[in-house]
Each structure stands twice: as structure tokens, then as C-alpha cells.
């Protein structure tokens, strides 16, 4: 429905449904005039339409329903008795309402539908002396016409005739034009020619809507009240009505309401179908029967499309929940005397209905929070040199299988120092612990239970409940929330929500010959160590195994230990899945990684839920059941809080680096001779290890074969004139790729990733360097990456011809 906004459309669909109900209610009411219940139901329906039409500024619709409502309320209260006349005028009112709705649907406005006749008729019917139903001659004569079936049938013919005539004659008339447009759009009439249209209309009239034009026509003619538009009116009515049959199909009949449970059921079945499909496809792959193979390919395709289709039925644009927010912002802004503009980006982003419902409250909360605490008063904004009008931006987008929703304001931001002080004051953590935390990490404190930063408690927010509840709610649907803030500039709350709950991407791993699934959302990276390497790389801190992941100690948890099983991997290889949960990072040691697949989550019985390690189970492609590990529970069980705290503080540094886009993250590397260089992380595509013997020479340049291409190398120690060990067996390599070309920068050791802004810079310069800075308490040289790359491949920036496969995955990098 172009040109109609959603509210109007919803109103139309609802009203059409209600009107159909109203018709039968009114007729039934005539049989049983004393049914209070029916009267009340009719009253409510009309009342609703009246209310909404007033709100949407459809004045004539409001006028008609208003008098109708008056009459109905008096009927309901027993002040008036229901006479056939009154039933008729009520039915007439229903028809008029329908005409108005049709017009609204066709043209967006009320068109030329005349309501004065009906209003007059209803008013007149109300003036009738109560309790004298058959007293007046006119209504009495009309009564059988309205109520009796034979009369209806008789009236059909003339009604159809009138419809034909005006449609021919009055093709230029507004009401006829609208249906013409509608009809052609609905593909019912081949051409919007009046004559053809009138035939269609006539058919419609006879088959679909035999009774509708009846009531207005005779009533208007027979009614004692003088009717100015008496001659024109029935025609217009008839045409619009007939077209209404078509137009309504466009909105009301093009959508149906479906029980969400039914959709859930379908979703389940489709999940099963997909699994069965997987099994069949696996089996058929071993067959030679081409017909069977072809059939299985078709099955494969259809099942995928079906899955997509069913998932789509459950998807709704996020606008459904956003549409309520402008009002919230406006009202709240007024109450707080703030001027706020709400901007929305990506309102058509779709996600699963269940998730949408689950996100609604947290999102509203975040918006209220931003309005209340985030955006300053106009005076404060003026003082800070900002425009008086604050801007609240909602953004939604799809990002790697998740929906990212942001609530951003350009308000005062959150001051980490104040926040930290408050947390200490409330006894939520010690001053010592605070001093070890990074600013970004401190920000996450607002998610602690019982924490509020509001200086004053307003009736809007600031009662100390909220952000922790928001976090809990978001996490309960498998999402995450993070906050970033620049004091004075604004705050962004970012929610990451899975697209759907029913099917999640997961990593399947093997442990003690059983398979387990780990939801991808908690997985950060995979590390595989061969026996030789594992022997050195896995160290112990007071008996607790740790692994140095890019210079940082990663606590290791053996899945076999947690599950009380014995590993069946004896070759010394160690496979680590680096997982993140509630700000803690840890490595889960498994026997081997099988693959990643989309799994359908099944609930497990009560006995197994109590164990608290499994979030569910799933059936894998080969039909075996695998348990889904609950990473949060695993972390809680395996990590002592103390280590977790330390972990969190350290991780915060990285997170800060990841989160603050305007700050530059640096990769620290040692190049030998005690020298350290910092390389901007955005110039790093991948970290690799290359065996020294695989380095070959092309002319006087060193190259290495990498993913089927030749990768030019620059040894940073030589490039920068340091003295590194040259007899190492394995070279640490930083790969940089751009425009399809890659180079490898060889360093001695990868040390860490740090946030560049915290550094003190100096411009002590040297060849190949941009300057130096203090990073991680040590003087570090900032690499001139461009120079280094040119040293490896002088043509790197000049030639855009791709020499290496593009799209080198960056999975190894922590983001």
C-alpha cells in the first residue's frame, strides 16, 4: 500500500474485520433485541473506529460513528428500544463506514462520500418515540425490506443496474476514479476503462455483495427526512461499495492473521525437514542413480527455500517496536524540558517476532535512559557549545548473522571517573580494583545490579534498576550489550541480537568421542597447537593451565575435566576454542573441531537442565544427538572469579581498543635487539607463522608461498637496522593485504595489542619510523608501514592488479 502509512493500513485491516462482524451482529441482534452483550460488542467496535478515526483526522468517519455510538449507547443503556428502523439505520451506518474506509484505502482520504444523510437518518431514528417500534408508517414499511430475505433478493437487480449506469456515466467522478485505479492495480480488470470496469463491478455486486447496496438505497428514498443528495448518493455508494469488494482484498485479504504457535510449529517441522534433507543428501552422495541424485538436489533446494520462507513469516521489521518510540521521546522530552530529535536508520531491518518482543522493553528503557540522562538540558547544551536540540539516533542493521541495534545520543556522555567513584562508593568494587580497570571497562559497570548514575532520581529513570535488567533480558535471548561513551560527545548502547532463536550457527567439537555444539556467538577464535608447540605453549600458573595468546595469558579449561570424562586424544595436539562470556575470555580445550553448522535448538528435559551445563540439544546432520554447551555456565563453573576479574581488566584494554574507533589500535611486535615497534592494527590482515626453510628468493627479494600465491617479505629487523636472530626456525609474519596484493612483514615476536591513544608520543625519528611512543610502559617505535611495505614490494601501491587471492580471512585477529 504505497502512500498509506502503517497505522492507517492497520486501522483498515482491523476495521474491515470488525465491520464484517458487525453486520452479523446487527442481524443477530434483530432476532434477539435484548442481548446486552451483543449491543455492547457492537458499541465497542464502533467506539474503536470512532476513536481511531478521530486520531487519524478522518472527520466524516468520526461524525458518522459518533452519532452511531450515541444511538448505540442509548440502546445499550435501555433508553431506546431496538426497532427495525434503528437496525436499518445502524446497518446503513456500517455501510457508510465501509464506503469511507474504501475511499480512505483507495485515495488516502475520505473522498466524496457523503455522510450527512446517514447522520440525519440516525439522528432522526433516535428522535423516534421510544418503545413504539411500529408506530410510524415509514419505518414500518421499510422494516420488512431490510429484514426479509426475499426483499433483499428483489433489490439486488436494481442495485446492480444503478451501479452499471453511473459507472459508465460518471467515469470522471472521484469515487469512480478511485476504484478504477484500485481495480487495475488488483489485476481484476484488464483495463481501467469505465465500461469494462462497470461489468466487473456488476459481477462483484451480484456475487460478492448482494445485500450491501440494498439498505442505503431504500432507506434513503423512504426516509421522511429530506435528502439533498438523494439522487446522487446511492450511485456513489453503490460504485464505491462494489469497488470496496476489490479494494478490500488489497489490504484485508492480502494478509491473514496466523497464530504464532502455528508458525512455531511450522518452524519446528521445517527444522526437522532440513535435518532429514541433510541425511538424505549425505546418503545420496554415495549413490550412482542420477534420477535419485537429481531428486535429492531438488529436495535440497526446496527445503532450503522453505526454511527461508518459514523463517521469513516470523520476521518483522524492527520498525514495529520503533514506531512507538517517537511518542516516548516526545513526551519524555517535554516532561524534562528538553528538545530532542529522534532519527532512525535501518527501520526495515527484520528480525524474528519473538526476539522483537523480547527486545522491545530493553530498547524502550535505553531510549528513556538516553533522553533522561544522556541528553542535556538546552541550557547545558548551549554552554557546552552544542546545538540546543539533542539528537537521539536509533540504528539497526544486519551484521554477520546478527542484528545490531544501536541507541546513540549526542549528550553529555558518561564520565568513567565519576562512574568508577560511584561504584567504589556503593561498595560494588574496591578502589584498587578500579585503578586496574580501563575506562571502557569501567563503563560496563553500569550493567551491575543496583547501579544508577543519575544525580537526581526522576520518575523516568534513575532508580537503580534498569541497565542490569536490560542486560539480563538481552542475554536471555542470546544477545549481548555493550556501551561506549565519550564524555561531552555522547553515548552509544549497542545490542547484538541473533536473527532467530530456533536456528543458530554453532561450532561442533569432539570431546571423548562425543560431539558437542558451541554457539558461534561466544566463539572468538580457534587455536590449534601441534604436540611440539603445545608442550611449550601451554604453561601453568600455580597449577592452572594457561596459554599465551598474543602475549596475554588465557586460562584454559579442559572440557574433559568439566564433564568428568577422559580425553581420547593422546598425540599431544591441543585444540583451543577461545570463548568469551560475560566479559571473561577463556580457552576451552577440546579433542578436535568437527565443523560449523546451523543447528536447530531443542529443549532438553528438566533432569538435564538442572545440570546447568547444557543449554539444549540438537540433532546433527547424521542424525546423532549432540548437547549444546552453555558457555556462560561453563565459564561460571570453571573460572574462579578472581582470575575472571583479572581477565576482565585485561580484556577491557583490548575491548577499549576494539570499541573506540577514533583511537588507533596498535599491534606491538619485537624486532630483536630489545626494540619494539607498533604497527597500526588496521594495516594488519592476518598473523601467520612461516617456516624459515619455506622462504625462497626471487632476485634479491625474499618471498614465501602463501595460499597459492607468492608473498613478498620484508624482515623488519633488517629494514629498521636492528639485530634480530636470523637463525629462527619459524618466522612470525604479519600479513597485510590491500587491493588483492599482500606483503608479509617479518617480526621477531608478536607481543600485544594496545590502545594507541594512551601513549605519549615523541617525534624522535629514524628511517622507516614515524616516531616513537610509550606503549605498555616501554618506548615503542611507530612503524612507517608504507615504507616497510614498499621495501617488500615496491609496486604495492602503484599496481592494482591482483596477484594473490583476495578475501584473505582475518579470523586470527581479535576484534
Amino acid at each position: 500500500m504505497d502512500g498509506l502509512d502503517d497505522i492507517v493500513e492497520e486501522f483498515l485491516v482491523e476495521s474491515h474485520e470488525n465491520l464484517d462482524q458487525l453486520d452479523s451482529d446487527l442481524v443477530a441482534l434483530e432476532q434477539d433485541p435484548n442481548s446486552r452483550e451483543r449491543l455492547s460488542s457492537i458499541f465497542r467496535t464502533i467506539h474503536t473506529i470512532k476513536g481511531t478515526s478521530g486520531f487519524l483526522a478522518f472527520n466524516r468517519l468520526e461524525e458518522v460513528t459518533h452519532v452511531g455510538e450515541n444511538m448505540l449507547s442509548r440502546l445499550r443503556d435501555g433508553e431506546l428500544a431496538l426497532t427495525p428502523t434503528r437496525t436499518s439505520v445502524l446497518l446503513q451506518m456500517v455501510d457508510t463506514v465501509r464506503s469511507l474506509l474504501t475511499s480512505i484505502e483507495a485515495s488516502g482520504g475520505e473522498g466524496s462520500v457523503d455522510v450527512s444523510a446517514v447522520v440525519a437518518a440516525i439522528s432522526a431514528a433516535m428522535e423516534d418515540t421510544p418503545a413504539a417500534p411500529v408506530a410510524e408508517p415509514a419505518p414500518a414499511a421499510q422494516a420488512p425490506a431490510a429484514a426479509k430475505a426475499p426483499a433483499k433478493r428483489a433489490a439486488k437487480a436494481p442495485a446492480a443496474a444503478t451501479a452499471k449506469a453511473p459507472a459508465k456515466a460518471a467515469a470522471a467522478k472521484a469515487p469512480a476514479k478511485a476504484p478504477a485505479k484500485r481495480a487495475s492495480r488488483a489485476k481484476a480488470a484488464p483495463a481501467p476503462v469505465a465500461e469494462e470496469l462497470s461489468d466487473v463491478l456488476q459481477d462483484e455486486l451480484q456475487t460478492d455483495l448482494p445485500a450491501e447496496p440494498l439498505t442505503p438505497a431504500p432507506t434513503v428514498e423512504e426516509h421522511p427526512v429530506p435528502e439533498p443528495a438523494a439522487t446522487d448518493h446511492p450511485e456513489a455508494e453503490a460504485t464505491t461499495d462494489a469497488a470496496g469488494g476489490q479494494a478490500r482484498r488489497a489490504v484485508a485479504d492480502s494478509t491473514i492473521r496466523v497464530d504464532v504457535d502455528l508458525l512455531d510449529e511450522l518452524m519446528l517441522l521445517v527444522g526437522e525437514l532440513v535435518l532429514t534433507r541433510n541425511q538424505i543428501v549425505q546418503n545420496v552422495a554415495r549413490q550412482t542413480d542420477t534420477d535419485l541424485i537429481r531428486a535429492s538436489q531438488r529436495l535440497n533446494l526446496i527445503a532450503s527455500e522453505l526454511q527461508e520462507g518459514v523463517m521469513k513469516t516470523r520476521m518483522q521489521p524492527i520498525d514495529h517496536i520503533w514506531s512507538k518510540l517517537p511518542r516516548v521521546v516526545r513526551d519524555l522530552g517535554l516532561a524534562l524540558k528538553k528538545s530532542i530529535r529522534l532519527e532512525m536508520e535501518g527501520r526495515e531491518t527484520e528480525l524474528d517476532k519473538t526476539l522483537l518482543e523480547a527486545v522491545k522493553d530493553p530498547l524502550t528503557h535505553l531510549v528513556r535512559n538516553s533522553v533522561d540522562h544522556g541528553i542535556e538540558t538546552p541550557e547545558d547544551r548551549k554552554k557546552a557549545g552544542k546545538p540546543t536540540e539533542g539528537v537521539l539516533t536509533l540504528r539497526a542493521r544486519h551484521e554477520s548473522g546478527q542484528v545490531v541495534v544501536e541507541v546513540a545520543d549526542d549528550g553529555a556522555g558518561i564520565d568513567p571517573a565519576k562512574l568508577g567513584a560511584k561504584a567504589v562508593q556503593r561498595g560494588l568494587l574496591t578502589a584498587d580494583a578500579l585503578s586496574r580497570m580501563s575506562p571502557a571497562d569501567i563503563l560496563q559497570l553500569i550493567f551491575l545490579p543496583g547501579f544508577s548514575t543519575a544525580a537526581a532520581v526522576t520518575n523516568v529513570s534513575g532508580r537503580g534498576v534498569g541497565m542490569d535488567v536490560v542486560k539480563t533480558n538481552i542475554e536471555s535471548i542470546g544477545g549481548t550489550i555493550e556501551v561506549e561513551s565519550d564524555p561531552g560527545v555522547g553515548t552509544v548502547c549497542r545490542l547484538r541480537i541473533p536473527l532467530t532463536l530456533a536456528i543458530v550457527p554453532a561450532l561442533t567439537v569432539e570431546c571423548a568421542s562425543d560431539r558437542y555444539a558451541i554457539p558461534q556467538i561466544s566463539l572468538q577464535e580457534l587455536v590449534s597447537l601441534d604436540a611440539e608447540k603445545a608442550a611449550n605453549a601451554v604453561e601453568e600458573v600455580g597449577g592452572a593451565p594457561v596459554y599465551r595468546l598474543r602475549g596475554e595469558l588465557l586460562p584454559l579449561v579442559r572440557l574433559t575435566d568439566v564433564l568428568g570424562l577422559t580425553s581420547e586424544r593422546h598425540d599431544g595436539h591441543v585444540v583451543i576454542a577461545v570463548l568469551r562470556s560475560e566479559g571473561r575470555r577463556f580457552g576451552l580445550v577440546v579433542d578436535r573441531v568437527i565443523n560449523t553448522e546451523e543447528i536447530v535448538v531443542k529443549a532438553v528435559g528438566g533432569q538435564l537442565k538442572q545440570i546447568g551445563l547444557y543449554s539444549g540439544a540438537t540433532v546433527l546432520g547424521d542424525g546423532t544427538v549432540a548437547l549444546i554447551l552453555d558457555v556462560q555456565a561453563l565459564a561460571r563453573r570453571a573460572l574462579r572469579t578472581e582470575t575472571a576479574d583479572r581477565q576482565e581488566a585485561r580484556a577491557g584494554v583490548l575491548q577499549a581498543a576494539a570499541v573506540e574507533t577514533d583511537r588507533q589500535r596498535m599491534l606491538l611486535a619485537a624486532i630483536g635487539g630489545g626494540r619494539r615497534v607498533a604497527i597500526p592494527l588496521d594495516t594488519v590482515t592476518r598473523l601467520e607463522q612461516v617456516r624459515t626453510e619455506s622462504v625462497e628468493k626471487v632476485g634479491n627479494r625474499e618471498v614465501v608461498q602463501y595460499r597459492g600465491a607468492i608473498l613478498p617479505m620484508v624482515r623488519l629487523d633488517r629494514h629498521l637496522g636492528a639485530y634480530g636472530e636470523s637463525d629462527r626456525e619459524v618466522l612470525e609474519v604479519i600479513v597485510y593485504a590491500d587491493h588483492g596484493r599482500s606483503v608479509a612483514i617479518v617480526v621477531e615476536e608478536i607481543l600485544d595489542i594496545v590502545d594507541g591513544e594512551a601513549a605519549v608520543r615523541s617525534d624522535i625519528d629514524d628511517m622507516g619510523l614515524l616516531g616513537s611512543a610509550v606503549l605498555g610502559d616501554k618506548v615503542t617505535e611507530l612503524l612507517d608501514v608504507r615504507a616497510a611495505i614498499l621495501a617488500a614490494d615496491p609496486a604495492f601501491y602503484s599496481s592494482p592488479t591482483p596477484t594473490t587471492p583476495s578475501g584473505v580471512p582475518t579470523a586470527l585477529l581479535e576484534v
Binding site: L275, Q607, L608, Y614, V625
Partner: protein
């Protein structure tokens, strides 16, 4: 599907689905039984109660399997014999139990019923409502709800 369980009423007449376990004959109300399956591939569940034998894939549905021998404190099933899976529907949820073999559906009469002897001890006492005295053998009435809420 799930008839209101009158399991606690000591004596009931009606039909019992019977099965054998460690030489004894047991029965559960036939209306609880959804289906009976030959041995299935079980996925073990580490850290689960010992009576949980694992999870089975029942046409795409994941169903917990309870080892009834373990529940009743009987010795483990001898090596090499495959259990039979009885899928039971309780409160709309499917649960299954592993037994030795399945037997007939038997009509029982409340007048043949007798409460368990006082000498019956341990877990079994909780789970066995009593016995129907059939010709030449006893049919032990299992409280399926309790047995499967391991």
C-alpha cells in the same frame, strides 16, 4: 493424550502395557505409552544423574532415556543385550525408558491388586505401586511418573 494420572490410587482396573526387566514383569498404564522402539543410538550426557542413559533422536525430537534398571536399583543389563525403548508421554513431554523386552497389553482387575510387601525396600518401594496377582505370576505396577522424574 495424557490421561490424568490416577497413579496414586492404589488399585485400578484397566489395561497395562507390560514389559520385562531383570526377570520381573512390570506394567504401566497403556495410555501413557506413545510408542516402543528397538534399540537406539544413545548420546551420553556427562554429569547427568546415573539413571539418565542418554538422549535419543526420535524423528528429530530429542528425548531423554532413563535406564529403568538403574532406577529400580537392579544390576546393569548384561553385555550384548540391547534394551528396548518405551517412549512415554507425560505432561505433553516425551520421555523414554530402557527395559529388557516388551510383553503384552494385559487387562487387570482392581480386585487382584495388592500393595507392595513391607519387605520391599529402597528406591523400588517408591516406584512400585503394588502387584496384580495374575495366573502364575505377579505383575508389578510401576509408577511411571516417579520412575521417569529421575
Amino acid at each position: 493424550m495424557t490421561a490424568p494420572t490416577r497413579a496414586l490410587a492404589p488399585a485400578t482396573s484397566g489395561q497395562l502395557a507390560t514389559f520385562r526387566l531383570d526377570g520381573d514383569l512390570y506394567g504401566i498404564e497403556v495410555e501413557h505409552v506413545q510408542e516402543v522402539l528397538r534399540s537406539q543410538q544413545l548420546t551420553r550426557v556427562p554429569l547427568a544423574p546415573t539413571a539418565v542413559a542418554g538422549l535419543i533422536n526420535l524423528r528429530g525430537q530429542v528425548v531423554t532415556a532413563i535406564e529403568l534398571r538403574e532406577r529400580l536399583g537392579r544390576p546393569a543389563r548384561p553385555e550384548g543385550t540391547d534394551p528396548v525403548v518405551i517412549v512415554v508421554r507425560l505432561h505433553g513431554e516425551a520421555v523414554s525408558m530402557l527395559v529388557d523386552s516388551i510383553a503384552d497389553v494385559v487387562d487387570v482387575d482392581a480386585s487382584d491388586f495388592e500393595a507392595p510387601p513391607d519387605t520391599l525396600e529402597g528406591q523400588a518401594r517408591e516406584l512400585i505401586r503394588g502387584a496384580y496377582k495374575l495366573d502364575g505370576k505377579l505383575l508389578l505396577a510401576l509408577d511411571v511418573q516417579k520412575a521417569l522424574s529421575a
